[in-house]
């Protein structure tokens, strides 16, 4: 097959997500309303508590990270959720594609949407709360975004694996996994405040390291970016392998057939 044909297999998921998103009024809520509500709430809280500039940056980085994470991870999860809701999943899995086509195609669209959200939130943060996202140059925010998007891919893949393993009930995972990440990866607080066993868990989440890295631009301190990158790469690889295994299992158990009926 030509490279254009191969590329289109990836872009098929992005195309489907794009068409569905542009017709869905809730997309506006996902892209603008909830991110703004979240950002303004946190920003105004920093004003009320009269925290210093570095602490404003600390909290706004967390708020922006969480919002982008939620938007992008949903796009990856949507690749199967839309098929499951419309009972068309069998047509996707009869086509000559592999899991990487589905994941990276939908992640591409998630990155597009997440980048738009980041641009909006970073601009508003600058004008309203004097948060300068490019304080350390353009490389740190790009690395930070790459880290958040890789984390979104990992969560999205986990949701897809849940759908292929548990069927209809699994869409709950789509909405709750980012909440757990919020709790354990230090979105609004340093992970040092967590009980020890939760700190161990936090250190196993790549986002923890990406947050520490980006925050170190505003509040100088140590970070372990390499550990975060390594963990993200490991989890992504593991996620793709497990996604393939979950697909094979779903073909063996017949879940792919039931999800279409």
């Amino acid at each position: 097959m030509s490279w254009q044909g191969e590329l289109n297999k990836y872009l098929a998921s992005a195309y489907k997500n794009w068409v569905i998103s542009k017709r869905n009024v809730f997309t506006l809520f996902e892209l603008f309303f909830w991110p703004l509500v979240n950002l303004l709430s946190i920003g105004l809280l920093t004003r009320f508590l009269m925290v210093d500039e570095s602490m404003v940056s600390f909290l706004l980085v967390g708020s922006i990270a969480l919002t982008i994470l939620q938007v992008a991870q949903m796009d990856v999860a949507y690749v199967l959720l839309f098929d499951m809701w419309s009972k068309s999943i069998k047509h996707t899995f009869i086509a000559p594609i592999r899991s990487r086509h589905l994941i990276f195609g939908s992640l591409f669209f998630g990155i597009m949407r997440g980048s738009v959200v980041f641009a909006i939130l970073a601009s508003i943060s600058f004008y309203l709360f004097d948060f300068r996202f490019q304080a350390g140059g353009l490389i740190p925010p790009l690395i930070f975004l790459a880290g958040v998007f890789s984390m979104a891919a990992i969560i999205g893949i986990t949701v897809c694996i849940s759908i292929l393993t548990f069927g209809q009930k699994a869409d709950v995972a789509a909405w709750s996994l980012s909440g757990l990440i919020l709790l354990f990866s230090g979105i609004y607080y340093p992970v040092d405040v967590l009980p020890f066993f939760l700190q161990v868990l936090a250190r196993a989440i790549p986002l923890t390291y990406f947050l520490e890295y980006y925050r170190s631009i505003f509040i100088p301190g140590p970070h372990h970016l390499v550990v975060g990158l390594s963990l993200a790469a490991l989890y992504l690889l593991l996620g793709l392998i497990l996604f393939d295994r979950a697909t094979r299992r779903a073909r063996r158990t017949g879940i792919l057939l039931w999800l279409s009926e």
């Binding site: 289109n8 068409v19 073909r251 063996r252 017949g254 792919l256 057939l257 279409s260």
Partner: protein, 318 residues
């Protein structure tokens, strides 16, 4: 020897519940299906038709058995097989908010079509299945018939060599069913595509299928051409006679070749007449003997009916 679209040996499948109990759906299915035939899978609900088509189309895997699709090993060459087959299903479902054209573009992309080739193929299928008027209508707003046509159009996007049709006319009105039959026949005859279809409708199977496999409780209960199935089962012919006068029913029942006699009194032109429904074997002499037993009566009407697949289905499903 003719090339096979499907060669299946000892296909078994069961579904396991979360608590470990298993429900057997297919038990040792073995079939050889020729490339040039339209092959039908018939059977009552729960007989395993959809599961078998899902296994043939590589959507799900069998537990046991060997399977070859168009000469390719279904275990080893799944990727290659998926490039040259496609499926259209009963009660077709596609992403709701995508239009007819967008759905075709999306699935075309999944099959690796791109650029002008993608656009041309999509437009060709829209034309072939008379969907032009509805190209910008969202899937959720299409009628059942149009959804079925879209499903067939999607199934033709990759120009498959083997097409699976799972109950292709379920939910369609008679006119749309007839059009779908024409489409299936055209796809097979003009484009040389092998077709394997499941159906509930016996006339449809009789009209389209070269051979039929009757599935019952996950096994092949019968496999042959529609005509041979009717002949081999010796279901007999139905002779409906309306007569006036006397006929000895006891003697009629005792005649060689008469399988059953059912009578219905009726009134014709104010006189009492009788109607009899006589089930006889396929022997020509039997009809002669039956008619001779009415020599003291006046036959007003006679109608001889061949058994149809419906009768075969009922016999085999028993």
């Amino acid at each position: 020897m003719s090339e096979k679209s499907v060669q299946a040996r000892g296909i078994c499948k069961s579904y396991k519940s979360l608590f470990g109990s298993a429900k057997t759906v297919l038990e040792g299915i073995s079939l050889d299906i020729d490339r040039e035939e339209i092959f039908g899978l018939l059977g009552p609900n729960g007989s395993g038709k959809t599961t078998l088509i899902s296994i043939f189309s590589t959507l799900i895997y069998p537990e046991k058995g060997s399977l070859s699709i168009l000469g390719l090993n279904a275990r080893r060459d799944r990727g290659e097989i998926r490039k040259i087959i496609n499926i259209s299903t009963a009660k077709p479902n596609f992403p709701w908010s995508l239009t007819v054209r967008e759905n075709l573009v999306h699935y075309g992309m999944l099959y690796g079509l791109y650029g002008l080739g993608l656009n041309r193929t999509v437009e060709d299928q829209i034309d072939a299945f008379e969907l032009g008027e509805y190209r910008d209508v969202k899937f959720e707003n299409l009628s059942t018939g149009l959804k079925q046509r879209l499903s067939l159009a999607k199934a033709m996007l990759n120009h498959p060599r083997l097409l699976f049709l799972d109950e292709p006319t379920t939910g369609l009105d008679p006119d749309m069913s007839a059009k779908t039959h024409d489409l299936i026949r055209r796809i097979h005859d003009e484009e040389g595509i092998s077709v394997i279809m499941s159906t509930h409708y016996m006339p449809e199977a009789e009209l389209l299928c070269d051979r039929i496999a009757f599935l019952r409780k996950g096994r092949v209960a019968a496999l042959d051409t529609p005509q041979n199935l009717k002949n081999h089962l010796e279901l007999g012919k139905s002779v409906k006679i309306t007569y006036r006068g006397l006929a000895n029913l006891d003697a009629l029942r005792a005649l060689e070749g008469v399988l059953a006699v059912r009578g219905n009194p009726g009134i014709v032109d104010g006189q009492i007449d009788r109607q009899l429904d006589i089930l006889m074997d396929g022997n020509e002499d039997s009809l002669d003997r039956i008619l001779k037993s009415f020599q003291d009566a006046k036959i007003l009407d006679i109608n001889i009916e061949e058994p149809d697949l419906e009768d075969v289905f009922l016999e085999l499903a028993r």
